[in-house]
Symmetry: C3
Subunit: 175 residues, 3 copies
């Protein structure tokens, strides 16, 4: 009888076993990378997949408390203004269907639209069940502590644990 490792589930007949799960390594601080990261991870959660995001390198900046190091600039509007030239009014926003992720996201987005910031979008992800995980090594490199990061995050992990997450996930992406 094949013995199954608790960490990497693998049986000789079928190889590594994949769970219905999305894991993203969010390595970039660019707005047009954080945006698809949040859309994919929340859509996965809304579709019944497990969903986790590992924030590392520049990506970790998205988890730092606004008051701490990130200037309070309106990045969501900035993103929208680039992709949608003109005046980004509420009516315009209502055209977004966000991939059928449901009215919850729409309401939350519309509600937060007046004062959008990374925390708002990340909070939405958390409410939808996306696990947000900071990279321990990057925190060490930057001298960041848990209290510098937003609330509600998972315990920081390293690359080895992140690899275990990806090894079990049916979809793993580096963004």
């Amino acid at each position: 009888m094949a013995e199954v490792s608790p960490d990497v589930t693998e049986n000789n007949g079928a190889g590594v076993v994949k769970e219905n799960k999305l894991t993203i390594i969010a390595c970039s601080g660019d707005l047009d990378r954080i945006w698809p990261t949040l859309i994919l991870s929340t859509t996965a959660a809304a579709s019944g997949m497990e969903s986790s995001v590992f924030f590392t390198f520049w990506g970790l900046f998205a988890l730092v408390k606004p008051g701490t190091r990130i200037t309070g600039e309106n990045w969501m509007q900035k993103m929208l203004s680039v992709m949608n030239p003109g005046s980004p009014a509420k009516a315009k926003l209502s055209k977004l269907n966000f991939a059928g992720a449901g009215p919850f996201m729409m309401r939350k987005l519309a509600e937060d639209y007046k004062t959008p910031d990374p925390s708002a979008l990340l909070e939405m992800a958390q409410e939808m069940g996306v696990r947000l995980i900071p990279c321990q090594m990057t925190m060490d490199l930057l001298g960041l502590h848990r209290e510098d990061l937003i609330e509600g995050l998972e315990e920081p992990i390293g690359a080895a644990t992140a690899l275990l997450e990806m090894n079990k996930a049916s979809v793993s992406l580096f963004i």
Copy 2:
């Protein structure tokens, strides 16, 4: 008897079932991202894998008709000139073997080389059986309609459907 979901094939013994398939999320409009996207997706098709590309965010610009919004600049030559300084003559191009994808691609490339544009390369991908899929949300954001995009594309889908594509694919990449 295990019941298999029609969308996400999953059995308890072996986890999510993976088909012999490549799915790429083409999120970038940069030439040096579109280029590997097309090489990988056509090579996969030539190797007998199913192959699909989901064009989203800046990546969707590659699917817009040249006459509509993209300036007709010679992007393939531009790319080649960056990677291959000197005069990119036909003889030089013949050194490209494109990963054994067969003479079809070579002939098509050589033939199109005088007037290369995104449509030509994408048409080649289509002829090799790569499914090109626009992102509905991005179309909404940009106010684009089907008639603004090149011919022969799949129906636009959202992130949830793209995730289902990736969940079945043996290789999923975010480029």
Copy 3:
């Protein structure tokens, strides 16, 4: 009895079979992309996973001998200085735990820190069992020969073979 293809292991019951393996396509020459590529691939090797990196397009520059085309600038210190403002002294470096990849990496890093260059980090990856594979097409495009690249690499392969690597790997990433 199901016949198993030697290239793409697939059985009808469970789909494509995944091995406990990480394969990365290293397509970017940016330092903040090469860095996570090396951390993930060495951590995978240290965790008992098979680990391979396919260097293509700008990523291939990381494999060119320092004396040949890459200026001998201190890229590792440059990277560290960006991520860790201040004087990157040895004491600071000792805070890096590199995701539990073990003391081997730490010693090697500390040892190489005085004269770090791409070769040193890549050599470390090789010593940990990471397979480094150059892209044949990119070599052709750039007119590079094996003697222009650092020692200890695998034989160059094309996109079709790289896809086979990814098809077997439990985790495939495009970085």
